[in-house]
């Protein structure tokens, strides 16, 4: 009986140790998904219904983003492409500034905005701030007509990917400032597409998690866009490591 107890005790101890080890390893490497995510995964592996529901919700989420990025054809027909673009920007909770104007039109925290922008007929946009919005490749259709766009900020946009950057060539004659920092989907392959923007003066590529060996990539970017001032912060750790290797 005692032997049985001792073996049981040892077993328990080992289990506890294993759990600690797992926690340690998980905290050191990729963080574990939260409990509800894990529970859902567990359920999807066992029940088709849950899997179907989850797939459906993912699809709905994607469709919602696509719907938000729809082409504002109706507005364009009635108010012209400039106001349509402005309306799109405000609906996405972004901000913009008309050419020749000083004040910005911005949506507030709750997505409400001033409708006065409708009074500026046939005034193209000069600066557009789409930071932290869900703009994607499809939504760019609304901005393509803005051929005097000088500044575009796409800071922290989760849906901005390489294909989006590939399409920025439509602004190759006008765009001077571009901010694509903190975009999680951008990789090196997309940065190569910025070669078409020869008029670019300022480019912000800080904290892009998708690019590997950022030090080298930024040097190559500077080489590719010689007249452009490139800002790249948030890579300190990697750059230091490379320096250490060189020394």
């Amino acid at each position: 009986m005692a032997a049985l107890f001792s073996s049981l005790h040892r077993c328990c101890q080992r289990l506890a140790l294993l759990r600690v080890a797992r926690q340690l390893s998980s905290s050191s490497s990729v963080s574990r998904p939260p409990l509800h995510r894990r529970l859902l995964r567990f359920l999807t592996q066992r029940f088709y219904d849950v899997e179907e529901l989850l797939e459906w919700s993912v699809r709905m989420k994607k469709e919602g983003i696509q719907k938000k990025n729809a082409y504002y054809g109706f507005t364009e027909q009635f108010y012209g492409s400039d106001i349509a673009a402005g309306h799109f920007v405000l609906n996405m909770r972004g901000g913009f500034r008309y050419t020749g104007q000083t004040d910005w039109f911005r949506a507030n925290q709750r997505g409400k905005f001033n409708w006065d922008f409708l009074t500026y007929k046939d005034t193209p946009l000069e600066e557009v701030d789409m930071s932290y919005t869900v703009i994607n490749y499809r939504g760019l259709d609304n901005l393509v007509g803005q051929q005097s766009l000088k500044t575009l900020s796409l800071r922290g946009c989760p849906e901005v990917d390489d294909w989006f950057l590939g399409r920025l060539h439509v602004f190759q004659n006008c765009l001077e400032e571009l901010d694509i920092s903190h975009c999680p989907q951008i990789t090196t392959g997309g940065l190569a597409a910025l070669r078409n923007l020869k008029g670019l003066r300022r480019l912000d590529v800080s904290s892009l998690p998708g690019i590997s060996c950022p030090g080298l990539v930024i040097i190559l970017l500077e080489e590719m866009l010689p007249h452009c001032q490139i800002t790249a912060t948030g890579y300190d750790h990697n750059l230091k490591q490379q320096d250490a290797e060189k020394m």
Binding site: W163, T188, G189
Partner: protein
């Protein structure tokens, strides 16, 4: 109903079989007890052994009986688990990117879940000689045929939304590692007018391409030697290169998750019937209908005939072998069955070179009118280069050996002439791959052979199969399930042009 009752009977009997163990234990226990008491007896151990044997045999019998219950995978004959099923609706021969794309689209387009049973047969589980993974992986819109441009545009759109199409729940999203670097075609004086015409066709179909004069070219790419260049055309969007292996695996993963059966084996024979019809010209035509496909397992004599309704020939470079088995190309002179499938393997070399002073991040896939091409590979000053040999100097296709002399003689001089920085380079690696070369017009064959009523073709793409695979898969699935092309009209790629011997050539500058 009676079958159900019988099943119940078996289940009722089963506990009896299983329970017999307890009975034997009861029988043996007193004997064992006795054996302990009378250990000196000589007869006992023998009888003990006998009972032990009996016990073991009974246990084995019980196990066999339990295995024979419905729901277990046991069968009286040993069966190779890798064998394909005996019956299927559609057998796709060739597990390259085209084959898997067709499988995916068939499943995507089926009206009811599990509506079609699709098997993909691939002869090489390691894909060591597959054209898909040995290709350079480029995609461009700069073709001259409207069909090819539309195929490229549709494929680029597919790749842009690849995670909507090929994303699997609870799996990592697909990262194609797409490099949006564009293609740059350079034309000399003689071929500049072709380039202009192509540019018009491409722009009218919505491809974003721009024409550059030599001065503009020099400004954009200072490292190019523009001495003998009259015109350049440069793709702005949807052009570049990607990782073929990722695309193949994404198609495969999604198709398997949707219920496509993967099978490794080689198709060595067909069982088919021949119907002799008389054509209006008085010619007798033997119409074949495939009944079953013989799939030979790799490295064994084992084979499995798979009964099927439709066969898709996506065997790439080796697709002519399949039609030979059906007697195409060996008929009487002058008849339709005398015309073989004009697809044959052609070997192409790809060289990896290192050049520290080469073009940087903006270097596109450059295609020169002399026939050479190169592109950047990674960021460390590595490049991939190659060229198509002239018709008379086609290399031997029996193996995938690389001819390094070809680089020295044909590729390097043109390469160094075009980009002077490549004068000092070092070849760091090389490989060879097969093109599924269409000897008639170097374009794909999509459709049904007039003499094989249930074999669909998607082959002969001559080097642009990978970039067109998403759109071609959709077209073939439409052809099979809807009966005709619904999104892109690819009627021109059918067999009519081959039977009439009217090539549909790309007007290329190369």
């Amino acid at each position: 109903m009676s079958a159900w009752r019988r099943l119940h009977v078996v289940v009722w009997k089963a506990p009896g079989l299983l329970a017999s163990r307890r009975v034997t234990e009861q029988l043996t226990w007193p004997r064992g007890h006795l054996a302990l008491c009378q250990s000196l007896s000589t007869g006992r151990p023998l009888r003990n052994d006998f009972i032990k044997d009996l016990e073991a045999q009974l246990a084995a019998m019980r196990k066999k009986a339990a295995d024979a219950l419905p729901g277990s995978s046991w069968s009286p004959f040993e069966i190779n688990p890798n064998l394909p099923p005996e019956r299927a609706d559609i057998v796709i021969v060739g597990g390259g990117v085209i084959g898997w794309s067709i499988a995916y689209w068939l499943k995507e387009k089926e009206r009811v879940p599990k509506g079609v049973k699709v098997i993909v047969v691939e002869k090489d589980p390691t894909y060591s000689k597959a054209s898909t993974v040995l290709s350079v992986g480029g995609i461009r819109q700069q073709f001259s045929l409207p069909e090819n441009i539309q195929l490229s545009l549709a494929s680029a759109q597919f790749m842009r939304n690849i995670n909507v199409h090929l994303g699997v729940l609870n799996e990592d999203p697909v990262d194609l590692q797409f490099n949006h670097s564009g293609y740059l075609f350079l034309a000399s004086e003689d071929v500049a007018h072709i380039m202009e015409e192509n540019y018009k066709t491409q722009s009218s179909l919505g491809a974003k391409v721009s024409l550059l004069s030599p001065a503009q070219l020099k400004e954009k790419f200072p490292w190019v030697n523009t001495d003998d260049v009259a015109l350049a055309s440069y793709g702005l969007e949807n052009e570049g290169w990607f990782d073929p292996w990722t695309l193949l695996n994404a198609f495969k993963r999604k198709a398997i998750s949707m219920g496509v059966i993967q099978c490794f084996g080689e198709v060595t024979d067909f069982k088919y019937t021949v119907n002799v019809l008389k054509s209006p010209d008085g010619e007798f035509l033997g119409c074949r209908r495939i009944k079953s496909v013989k799939v030979q397992m790799p490295n064994s004599l084992e084979y499995q005939p798979v009964q099927c309704a439709i066969v898709v020939n996506a065997a790439g470079a080796f697709s002519a072998k399949l039609t030979e088995m059906l007697g195409i190309g060996s008929g009487p002179k002058g008849s339709i069955s005398d015309i073989p499938l004009p697809v044959e393997p052609r070997k192409r070399f790809v060289y990896v070179v290192h050049c520290p002073d080469g073009p940087g991040l903006d270097s596109p896939m450059l295609i020169d009118y002399s026939g050479i091409y190169f592109r950047r590979e990674g960021l460390g000053g590595n490049y991939i280069a190659g060229a198509s040999p002239v018709e008379a100097e086609e290399p031997d296709t029996s193996n995938l050996e690389v001819d390094h002399q070809f680089f020295e003689d044909k590729v390097w001089p043109s390469l160094a002439h075009r980009v002077p920085a490549f004068e000092n380079l070092k070849v760091t690696g090389a490989w060879a791959g097969y093109y599924d070369y269409n000897t008639l017009d170097q374009n794909g064959i999509i459709g049904v052979h007039p003499l094989i009523t249930n074999m669909y073709f998607a082959t002969g793409f001559s080097g642009h199969g990978l970039q067109h695979s998403p759109a071609v898969g959709r077209a073939v699935a439409e052809l099979i399930l809807d009966g005709n092309f619904t999104t892109l009209d690819l009627q021109e790629f059918g067999f009519t042009r081959i039977l009439d011997k009217e090539p549909m050539l790309e007007r290329n500058i190369v």
